[in-house]
Symmetry: C2
Subunit: 579 residues, 2 copies
């Protein structure tokens, strides 16, 4: 397996301000990082490619939702109860530890038996009780050698309060997905009520890690790019699957690890449906286009006890780095779980219409609101009431309706300061569509991890040990640098012209004005992964020629200064090849 | 003054999913909004233009810093103590109100006297004591008619905790600026220690408004785009000022409101320096390029008692909307206040070098750390100690050094679990540079407000009352729609080709497959502000011609389907003009 010099890479990342610990002049905060100009530029390029590759290519509906969510939303989604780590405490010092880390590390240090390796496999998904049992069974101690307290759950969401004292409890979102589920009705309407469709969202998510380790990989604030592909449960064939079916990938599935095509994976039932297969293929293409080494990419199927009970299948794109294989993308078929949770939690109908092969007769609750009475009382709030009442889910009505005798039924709804009683009746009707909650297939990208893996995969040392990043031009933080051997005023106008032309074409250009040798200038640009360097030298005054140097081959060509901008642009865009 | 139908506009924004209240199916959270596809697309276009107009044009160093900041940082910046609103409480119901709003509204309802209008002007910047006095003087009551409690300060930052109980107190950042100040040293180094330079940052900021009003304008989570232009205090001339000096703007300054050129404003001392003038000019150009009506744009100078004591000048770009004149951009000369605060707060030297006209002799503290002793004790942490010690500011050393007799001095530094005693001495040396903290000029853009103002300025009704947004092609959420009168399979391939060509050129294209009349399709696209619509009709089968319809003129031209993509692209890019 390829080796990466983690320390050397992280040193360069720090020195060249790709990244730094947040608030470092105040001692820093572990798990929080700021991106300097080159780091941010690469991230922006990754996201721009992501948007093109997924959102634009598939006509996804991209939205942006708030990073703060109310308690009720995350209660319904399950995060308030289940988005937890298990902690144990040193009984003497009070230090706290993540139970899975502590127990895992302790077991790994013991002489391996079959039993221990079985325990090790389970350690990630143990309950508090199982943790306590295993700690007592193997007499596991804290890292300070002291006894450990009973384990307890710790919720990983950051909480805050909105408004004055006693205001609403809010959490920083643990994922961008929830904002998409909350807007499902509007998205569906925006898509003219047609299924399938996908929404997408890019943004920050938060996780209050207890003791962040693995450097840049396990952080407390991170960028996610998530897709929610809404599709009816029995319509998961994908019209464009044929465009990816020939891609051969390393798949680690329940029965074996093998390199097979997606077509075979679908035919043998290894991947559960074509839509899942399509996203696996598109994800692989995306990562490889970024510059991820395809030999160091695999897709791992979740074991059954690793998945949530409702999930129909889950595959992680794992990339090999100096930290081992790390999960960078998760692609899960989450069935109708999320929308069902929010239908229950919000009481709002989140179903969409599905055309029936033939009409059928159904019975449903119809509400009769006294419009005169409430229109007069509520005035301009009345339309909001109507919207609320019309939005109520059948499930909610069914659960809360009260019989008031003689085939009469009533539903009470709280609205503003009123309790509104609404007459309800069961009505038979013939329908041509039925209301169903669609399934969702969710490809979720950890952008920070992809960025880090890409940086490692792009790093190499020249024979003389000088470091280089071989970023592709579309990914490099700067596409082109311009410099000179010695400065002459005659250069200025030409430098500005070249820069203007390339900038107008959307590229980032550095003018290197440092007074050091050209060799040091090249090295300095190699450390940022700048693919092309244009040099003005004194001969320019005679022949109007400049030198273009390519980063990886280190070869140089001399070209006319007038033609230089378009030549470089063609190289950068890949319209012509170096050599 | 132009009038805007706020209600009608907001109805369309909601109906077409430009924007929606966050978690609306759960009743929503006031002051929090999600952006649907068209709203997000316009925002993305605004930011992309901002990046081009400011960051790329001026070679700014763009960085991205975390949205969470530790208490110490915001204590040093003054936010913990001063980022507050004053609240008053209804003594009976306990309801709380923003004092400035409540008092302002009450005074406005009184019969206007000279005294009252003076009070009204000050109401925004009153202290708790002044608020209490004015409440008692005018016998102001809560909106429920009850007596009011004494006023109190309420901090507007959202707090949270990082780590397990007793972890670090963090706040969601109230502005992106702080992240740039914290990274000043690294930015300066990245810029090869040359001044002036500017950094920039785009991101979320947060403000726990007590009772958000003014709909989309006063929100709790918002997008900021901020620039920090670091410059020596006596070097604020700007080399590119001449490129903006001829721009005529409405300036509301201390003495009058008048429309004058920036050149005149500088010459008459109305605007305090050229760098400030340059940013005012560039900001005006940016807003007008977006599509803001230049007649509804003015720059207002802050009054002296409205500015922080350290500020040397502050101008707001105000845009007129249905909510009146609203502040959308603030451009402030903040002197060296922020960096000085953080030098004090962090103890780290935040100065940069300034070449002296001639060398001079200075005396400064030099620290002698016992490298042998601490190298052996600290091992791989030793380099961090060295960095910390070398980074200490002279001011901090001066304050904390202790004499231990006979010209010997000592500084004690806490590091990890150690207290490290370092010998210090005053050393005379001849220097060619001096260390100074630069000033900062800060243009700060409220992206959500600009977005809202732009939406209002772009709105109009046709003669038949149908609504339209006249977004410029670069700003429109979708640049081109493609549809048909009646569907024929022969269209598909051509529709895909046109879409592919325009998408590859970075445009957003909608294929409109709704089965409604072409008139309704046009109206529907007008409501999204889509500038061009390409229609296939049955004649296409004979002549291979399609119709291009332009939004504002509603005129149509018929062109060959093969030439259509490049013709539309030229219109969108402004390379050829409609008619």
């Amino acid at each position: 397996m390829r080796k990466f010099d983690q320390q050397q890479i992280e040193q360069i990342l720090k020195k060249r301000f790709f990244i730094t610990q947040s608030a470092y002049i105040y001692g820093g905060v572990s798990g929080l990082y700021d991106l300097g100009p080159p780091g941010l530029s690469i991230k922006t390029n990754i996201l721009s490619l992501w948007r093109k590759h997924f959102v634009l290519e598939e006509d996804m509906l991209e939205i942006e939702t708030t990073t703060m969510l109310p308690h009720d939303v995350l209660k319904a989604s399950g995060h308030v109860d289940k988005f937890c780590d298990i902690l144990v405490f040193d009984e003497v010092s009070g230090d706290c530890f993540r139970a899975d880390h502590l127990v895992g590390d302790a077991l790994e240090k013991m002489s391996p038996t079959e039993e221990i390796s079985k325990e090790l496999q389970k350690v990630d998904c143990m309950s508090c009780q199982e943790i306590d049992e295993i700690i007592s069974k193997y007499n596991i101690r804290s890292t300070l050698g002291n006894k450990l307290s009973k384990s307890q759950q710790f919720n990983l969401m950051f909480g805050t309060q909105i408004g004055y004292k006693g205001g609403q409890t809010m959490f920083l979102r643990p994922e961008t997905a929830q904002g998409q589920f909350l807007n499902f009705k509007k998205l569906c309407e925006y898509n003219n009520d047609k299924l399938p469709f996908a929404s997408a969202s890019i943004g920050k998510a938060y996780r209050n890690e207890i003791s962040p380790r693995s450097g840049l990989l396990r952080v407390r604030e991170f960028d996610q790019a998530e897709i929610e592909h809404f599709v009816l449960t029995d319509e998961k064939d994908h019209p464009k699957f044929s465009t990816v079916q020939g891609i051969k990938l390393k798949l680690m599935h329940h029965d074996a690890s093998e390199e097979i095509t997606l077509k075979e994976a679908i035919e043998r039932g290894i991947v559960c449906n074509e839509t899942m297969g399509y996203y696996i293929g598109r994800t692989a293409l995306f990562l490889i286009e970024l510059g991820i080494d395809r030999e160091l990419l695999r897709f791992r199927q979740h074991k059954k006890d690793e998945m949530a009970h409702y999930a129909k299948g889950c595959w992680d794109a794992e990339i090999y780095t100096s930290y081992g294989w790390i999960e960078c993308v998760g692609i899960a078929d989450r069935a109708c779980y999320d929308l069902s949770c929010h239908e229950d939690g919000s009481k709002v109908d989140l179903r969409c219409k599905r055309r029936l092969a033939e009409p059928k007769e159904i019975e449903e609750w119809v509400l009769k609101l006294d419009k005169k009475e409430w229109g007069a009382k509520l005035r301009d709030r009345f339309s909001v009431l109507m919207e609320t009442v019309n939005g109520l889910s059948q499930k909610y009505i069914e659960k809360n309706v009260v019989s008031i005798g003689e085939n009469r039924n009533r539903l009470s709804v709280k609205f503003d300061e009123y309790t509104i009683n609404i007459e309800c009746s069961r009505v038979k009707k013939k329908v041509f569509v039925e209301n169903v909650i669609p399934d969702v297939i969710e490809p979720s990208f950890g952008i920070g991890r992809i960025l880090y893996a890409l940086i490692e995969h792009s790093f190499y040392l020249r024979e003389d040990s000088r470091p280089v990043f071989r970023f592709k031009p579309a990914i490099a933080p700067v596409q082109c640098a311009i410099g000179y051997l010695i400065h002459f005023d005659e250069f200025n106008e030409h430098i500005l012209n070249i820069k203007r032309f390339l900038t107008d074409n959307g590229l980032v250009v550095h003018v290197n004005e440092r007074s050091c040798s050209i060799g040091r200038k090249y090295s300095s640009c190699d450390e940022l992964g700048i693919p092309f360097f244009i040099t003005f030298d004194p001969d320019f005054l005679k022949d109007r020629m400049v030198t273009i140097r390519e980063r990886d081959s280190m070869q140089q060509i001399r070209v006319d200064v007038e033609k230089c901008p378009s030549i470089v642009l063609e190289y950068i865009r890949g319209q012509s090849r170096w050599n």
